[in-house]
Subunit: 508 residues, 2 copies
């Protein structure tokens, strides 16, 4: 078995590199695998020649402190092995990260690109800017000329059609629809689960996300319902729609396109958008240009980027995942996101001097068309809760998050556990502890988000005195693990104090 | 401020190195600081010239995976700064580690030497061999010629005396005493507290101990009570005895000898031994040769090594420690050790295949003259407890630990928390969670020891089937975080299973 990343050997092609022609003019880095079984077969043969590096161990061991945290050597090598049409995709994709995303993104995985919003900026604006919006890609970025772009609707639809971008944008054919919708990776806050127990291995690296794999944007496009109606509707008992992305995905030695499905009943509710605009701008390349789906209230994975075809099918699309300890049929499918929230400020392990209250800021969200109605915070690990004043919560949307802030009373000193819970309009709330909601898949971490805070309350006279002393001497109290170079009391004070409490030893 | 270890700059002496003459023939690496205020003053002046490296941060960040884990650059540099009589002590001390201790010791701190017994060997024998017995030194190893050795008894004693080793070993003067006594560093299991919350900084590095800073040995020597009686007893209200070790200790810019005290009432109970033999052999150099105290049931720190004088005093010895957030008079003195226990096998994060029961092995101890009467283990984090059969517990001593083992029934699969608690003869038992007993000092970690275990129960048919499949294919299930390269079910099985549960989506 090859060594784990990042000690993976450099990729060395074996024999003549395979040639997988790009099918379409103006579409780069896109191979159509799904229509050509012989291509899939050839790709599997090529992949079998290699001993690809195994994924790095990051659950049983501490995460590297680098940025990118993980580099994705194995995924890059899958692409290198595919020959000229895909071998440059990892580099091209990284160029788009540098071009389209903020410099302070937290790069959780370099390739396929998984990036988290900069922590301190995530809750500054109700609408997340395009350059800081999180990304969880499953493959590289295909480059598609919008003039050459078409979308095929086929399968169990009455009148299969090929539509251009101009067709979709023709308001005489389709009314335009704009919605504020939060997208969330089901892996958000996975780190909290890993911190308690590692998960079973997944074929695709499950990125070690913190609380930033969520964002809220204004999306413009057409409702998929109208497009299906335009094709005469579904036929023969079709009840799901399958989306195909132009990116290449790899699983268990097979090359494939990215494929997911949503039920027709979700589409019928006008909750699936074919979107070309994100926050009033054309979709960035790395976010699925020229067209993607946006599925309201669902796991982000259904919001297929670089969408090139939609197929009417009966029953949901299959995407079995091999686990060490679970058959896929043991599990259930993730669609709606559960109620969740996070404290984005202060950060875990912060050591805070305050005067009896601490400002907390964060986000709250509930999927499936539910919305946050109340947010509560606790300074004692989940016993006493304070309600965030309703006026400190941002706009209510059917499918959007709410930002919140509160000045929470904090009396106690030393290490405290701050936590947050959200109640949605169906009165769902969050389990108190990670263990209560831990699952082998490490998805949908929905327990109360917790941060450990070292509290120094200056409204306490002895603390005020100590802080003043340190200030006078120009010494820092941080980090609190450092020894103090001075004594906080004189020998005389010590003797008096000990005598006052009856000495160290009891009386005979 | 100097950089934190291990990026500390190499030590460069400033000006002419100081000369602190070794006082006594046959005593190397020993400076008498306590009798000579002018020496102490000079040492303080020398120390003030330097910008010593700060201790490494190991509480807010993961511990290095090296062995030694920490090297103690700052403490070494203190010694280098003292000139010819101490500058070689760090190297000499390390040579004794290599000569006297087992090759597989866990070196928690290279200098002053802090070493933990090899985990897997600690609970093999009721009596801990000398070469694996833990060590928590506070300075370097002084080399003392036993022929030149003397012990001074002075202070508030009626007839101060100087005794040779031959005097102490003269059975006509003093009856010989042999006891089985467990010594324990009060820092044992500190890692569990750090894992939850870091502590405040201490001047001396508080080593990141796991469960191996404890050991049980047979000690031979004389009772200190008899020696004090030989000197005519204590006078003038003296109620404590102060021990002086020949090692050099540094605190807040001062050089000093290692000094601690115990109450006379402890001595009167014949629970303080002046020992020259450990497990039937002369004390190893690194364990205090030629003479040390062994204080039964107390924190190991009172069992002073390289003992060279004993002073009768009124009230306990002072040893104030500067903390970021605490005055010494806020705290209380650690003497008796609380009831505690640990699971030494399996180890935390082990992934275990079993047939419905798992063997657990460990130690249990209670200080202050109490002893373990019962040990209980839990496979569910502390709800249901199983008693260790009394016949599976080692010999009962007034001052010794007990080893134990049990085949614990384990039904559940996935991540479980195994934990242990001990009840002593005073019916003390351990708090269930670390948080319940966490303290800023990170001493006496006494909550139930916990290990996280991934359970795979082969007595479950589906698990047996999965393990058989992997075995046939020559594949390992470990580590469980690795993706499985095969599917555990066919597409047909998946389809059947999903149909059997009514499909993925509900009915209209």
């Amino acid at each position: 078995m090859a060594p784990a990343e990042p000690n993976a050997l450099a990729f060395r092609p074996k024999g003549e590199p395979p040639v997988f022609e790009e099918e379409r003019k103006g579409w780069k880095g896109y191979i159509e695998w799904e229509k050509y079984p012989e291509k899939k077969k050839r790709a599997a043969e090529v992949l079998k020649q290699y001993d690809f590096p195994v994924p790095p161990e990051f659950q049983l061991q501490p995460l590297p402190k680098s940025n990118p945290i993980l580099t994705g050597e194995r995924w890059k090598q899958y692409h290198y092995a595919m020959g000229p049409s895909l071998e440059k995709v990892p580099d091209i994709s990284w160029e788009y990260v540098k071009k389209e995303k903020a410099a302070d993104m937290l790069h959780v995985l370099q390739f396929p690109y998984n990036g988290e919003s900069p922590r301190e900026r995530l809750v500054e604006t109700e609408i997340t800017p395009n350059d800081t919006f999180f990304i969880r890609n499953h493959g590289g970025v295909p480059e598609i000329d919008p003039q050459e772009y078409t979308l095929d609707i086929f399968g169990l639809v009455k009148n299969p059609k090929r539509l251009t971008l101009a067709d979709l944008q023709n308001e005489e054919l389709f009314p335009r629809q704009t919605n504020t919708v939060t997208l969330q990776c089901s892996g958000t806050r996975r780190l909290e689960q890993i911190g308690v127990y590692p998960g079973d291995g997944d074929e695709l690296i499950n990125a070690p996300w913190a609380e930033g794999a969520i964002g809220n944007a204004v999306w413009t496009g057409v409702s998929l319902k109208k497009v299906i109606k335009h094709c005469g509707g579904l036929i023969d008992g079709a009840d799901n729609l399958e989306f195909y992305g132009a990116d290449t995905y790899f699983k268990k030695g097979q090359a494939m396109n990215y494929v997911v499905s949503v039920p027709w009943r979700k589409v019928k509710a006008n909750e699936v958008l074919l979107a070309w605009e994100m926050n009033g701008e054309p979709l960035p390349k790395i976010h699925g240009f020229p067209l993607r789906t946006v599925v309201f209230g669902y796991i982000g994975a259904r919001s297929c980027k670089w969408l090139y075809q939609i197929k009417g099918i009966r029953g949901p699309s299959q995407a079995p995942v091999g686990k060490q300890n679970a058959m896929y049929s043991n599990g259930f499918s993730i669609q709606d996101m559960p109620v969740s929230s996070a404290i984005m400020s202060p950060a875990d392990m912060d050591q805070i001097v305050h005067d009896g209250q601490v400002k907390l800021k964060g986000w709250a969200y509930s999927g499936g068309g539910r919305w946050p109605v109340r947010v509560e915070v606790s300074g004692d690990g989940g016993s006493v809760w304070y309600e965030v004043p309703p006026e400190n919560m941002s706009t209510k949307y059917f499918h959007g998050w709410r930002l919140w802030e509160i000045d929470m009373p904090v009396d106690a000193e030393g290490w405290l556990e701050f936590c947050v819970r959200c109640w949605d309009n169906a009165l769902n709330t969050q389990p108190t502890f990670v263990r209560s909601a831990w699952n082998w898949d490490l998805h949908v971490t929905s327990s109360c988000h917790r941060v450990k805070i070292y509290s120094m309350n200056r409204s306490k006279p002895m603390t005020a005195q100590r802080l003043k002393l340190l200030e006078e001497k120009g010494m820092s109290i941080l980090p609190i693990t450092r020894p103090l170079e001075i004594d906080l009391e004189t020998d005389e004070h010590y003797d008096q104090a000990m005598e006052a409490m009856g000495g160290r030893d009891p009386k005979e």
